[in-house]
Symmetry: C3
Subunit: 256 residues, 3 copies
């Protein structure tokens, strides 16, 4: 099985053509769309989604992850194997979180020419280089076929909140389809701080504590969402609409 | 085969992750997207689409239907079998039309803990409870494995038009991709009234009778669309744009 | 394998229901979405995308291509076989480019009633006529089963740029997800002209020459994109946003 995570969207035929290329090489497999709506070139969010999603797929799944601001430049392409999962991606930090949280991994730097379509277009390596790679990897799964083994990959840092004595400064990093406001405060990160009593302030509104389910009686709540991030939600509607908040913004968690 | 109907949209990775969970349990099956663009929490429209769509799928298909304003509250989850089709849904009225139009059916109230992922998130039962259920149901199809049989489910009423002596008051309930305006007047409902001569009034415009195909010579027509609802269409363009109509609105059918 | 190209979008359940119909006839096959976001009724762009995409799919693939402004009128439906690929489409010009660039082809005019669902809806031939056709074709692939052989189909012309002595007048025909501006100037068309030195003028901005990759140092570049059309791009962002260009527009290529 191959799972795709890209910032290609579905407005164009880009994803469809990549599937054509993959099936041309291995018609027996399944291709699943994890998501194609990573914001254009947002390596941070793309990497986080991949990190929080991959374990829900069958072991052996090949993830083709394409958020690639450097397309056409000399950045490398890597294949990484972690716990029986395979990841194909540009070496631009997209795999940082999986890499850093893995106990062991194997990585190869891909020999790009060997498997590419010819002629190569100037703009669409997803079709010409990455899709064939995924197709051939699904046939053999032998990493040594694809390039030389390396130890390290390029790592970028997930922008964690700033912690002060009595205050955490966090950021909104995503607003989902339902208007839920997703922040960069991770559950593990917060729980290590051991705070008992606190309030959350966002756009002048105050929320007390963190709910354990969508309580309908409250206008605005905070809750740990399914990716383990702090979410601001309005159980009867859209928190984003309620707060007039359309994109990135700051929030504070204050000890009381 | 599992078919998915949700209000999750494709902006997030929610649907992709659910597919990962399902394939982890049963990698042999096919998953088909019926739609993920039911308006958030719109049980009426979601239920209608499911009711009008399911018979186009192969018998034996499992429909996982998730429009669930009550996620996280104590509402039940049900599996219903009708005419060889299977439906998994929250017991919130989403299956009303299929239930009421079925001659016979079997329903079980699901033992939610038995099949769920652990730990359960606070916000994403689609991934943690419903996807595993669909996966396991596809493996056995034995309803008794999933909970105790019940007789009835929660039913909500589809908002039918108001009929007076010489006038029907109907509502716009959907505008499709092409700008076709879909109303809540069902063909069967209207034909039972036996009206011969009538005009349709919407936003000050008058349409005479109902066309049997997209007649290009008329600016605005009424037609029975593919879900058996009355549609207002502009065969050369978008009726929605022509009328400046973006969301819900009223229309009248007047006997002449 | 069946690949779908339509202008149906994903806002509605139309595509999902068609898949249900196809799988009801042939549950063994794979259905791939090439794209459903062809602009409503845009035969030119739909036909171009299909022409530039089909060779990336495995030979034997059946393309169901539905951009059909004439739905419900008496236009024919055709099946064309070219180089081992199959195309089902309304006979409205959608297959023009593939037809004209093929060395040999077989075409049948489909006997529409033979394979259709009954009763036929007034509005959704994709579900009632085309999906069953695709399903049955995937089972036999014998064209003679579906209608009588014909020689020609309706052809429409792709709107090529106007060439003058020292100037080419081209048009923007698409803006993609990344804000890349796609024009109607094809690489082959331009290279036949043999121009060496030229500048490109769009919305008052001047671009010198054509880049062979996304050069990050320039604000605005021209590049041959993956469909072999001239693209105006902003390697660090969105050319569309940079130029304030949201839809169709003109550009000039001027000999210097």
């Amino acid at each position: 099985m191959i799972a795709l995570l890209t910032d290609f969207g579905l407005k164009d035929e880009y994803v469809g053509v990549m599937k054509g290329v993959i099936y041309s090489i291995n018609s027996a497999l399944k291709i699943v769309d994890l998501t194609h709506e990573i914001p254009p070139q947002d390596i941070i969010w793309g990497g986080y989604i991949l990190y929080r999603s991959y374990k829900y797929f069958p072991r052996g799944t090949i993830f083709l992850a394409l958020v690639d601001p450097g397309v056409g430049t000399k950045r490398d392409i890597i294949i990484m194997k972690v716990e029986g999962y395979y990841f194909i991606a540009p070496d631009n930090g997209l795999l940082s979180l999986i890499y850093e949280h893995s106990k062991s991994r194997r990585i190869v730097k891909v020999n790009q020419n060997k498997f590419s379509l010819k002629p190569l277009s100037a703009t669409f390596q997803g079709r010409d280089i990455f899709a064939p790679l995924a197709g051939y990897l699904s046939r053999t799964k032998r990493l040594s076929n694809f390039g030389l083994e390396i130890d390290k990959l390029n790592v970028i840092k997930f922008p964690v909140p700033v912690v002060k004595t009595r205050e955490i400064r966090a950021s909104v990093i995503h607003i989902d389809r339902f208007g839920n406001i997703i922040t960069n405060l991770e559950r593990e990160f917060f729980q290590k701080l051991g705070w008992k009593n606190f309030k959350i302030v966002i756009k002048g509104k105050v929320i007390k504590g963190i709910s354990s389910f969508y309580q309908k009686k409250d206008e605005l709540i905070a809750i740990w969402e399914s990716r383990n991030l702090l979410e601001i939600a309005s159980p009867n509607g859209s928190a984003s609409r309620l707060l007039g908040l359309k994109s990135k913004a700051a929030l504070r968690i204050i000890k009381v």
